[in-house]
């Protein structure tokens, strides 16, 4: 698991917007969010003892 991956994808997304290459930017934004959420579920392992 590469913790730096969301930042790398986001930086590439910023670079693609500078060109500008919109489709690539959108794809990299999607990848950034997907990796961020995936990494979140990888780290969120401790159960929360809440009841609602």
């Amino acid at each position: 698991m590469y913790m730096f991956l969301p930042f790398l994808l986001a930086l590439a997304g910023c670079a693609s917007v500078w060109r500008p290459r919109a489709a690539l930017g959108y794809a990299l934004w999607c990848a950034t969010v997907v990796v961020t959420i995936a990494w979140f579920f990888h780290h969120a392992t401790d159960p929360l003892n809440f009841s609602f």
């Binding site: 930042f7 910023c14 919109a22």
Partner: protein, 183 residues
């Protein structure tokens, strides 16, 4: 640029500037106080960067409904991640993680900011409607927009470098106390 479309353009530029400010404050505390961000903290930063990219798309590529959708989705993800960390430290007697700013820890501020971004997008829609603007405006070509873009890109690059130094090519410790690659 017409006066009519300047409201949305300026508000998106201010949004990008605000996200840059959030990232800069987090970085200041990391560098000045030596507080290394935990994995959830890093993911909240990534979430704010994804929010900023939505504002950036509106600024550089022109306003689109899908760009606003990106901002909202990234805000929800960031809010959910920060809410998880708030829940971890909610119990009485828990001193929380890291230092506090104005009495609140940064993950609590992250939750407030994520909700604030959603409210901000709602405000943009209202103000654009009041100014009879339509979504679909042309990119903003002001020189100041390039400066804000450069600041945001620099902060993203700095976060990338910092995370590589802190975590290397793996996952970070839950409570990091040193940069993995600086020893």
């Amino acid at each position: 640029m017409s006066e009519q479309r300047s409201v949305g353009a300026v508000l998106n530029l201010l949004g990008l500037l605000g996200i840059s400010l959030v990232l800069a404050v987090a970085f200041f505390y990391q560098l000045a106080l030596g507080e290394l961000p935990c994995p959830l903290c890093l993911l909240q930063r990534a979430g704010f960067i994804a929010i900023g990219m939505g504002f950036l798309f509106n600024t550089r590529l022109g306003e689109r409904p899908s760009h606003y959708a990106m901002i909202l989705v990234a805000s929800l993800a960031t809010g959910f991640i920060s809410m998880r960390q708030v829940s971890l430290h909610l119990a009485p007697g828990d001193s929380g993680y890291g230092s506090a700013l104005l009495g609140l820890h940064f993950y609590t501020w992250a939750l407030i900011a994520a909700v604030g971004v959603i409210c901000y997008v709602a405000l943009i829609f209202v103000l654009k409607d009041a100014a009879s603007e339509r979504i679909g405006d042309a990119p903003l070509n002001w020189p100041v927009a390039n400066v804000v873009f450069a600041i945001f890109a620099l902060l993203v690059a700095a976060n990338l470098l910092s995370t590589v130094l802190e975590c290397g090519a793996g996952q970070c410790d839950d409570n990091p106390v040193r940069y993995l690659l600086l020893n």
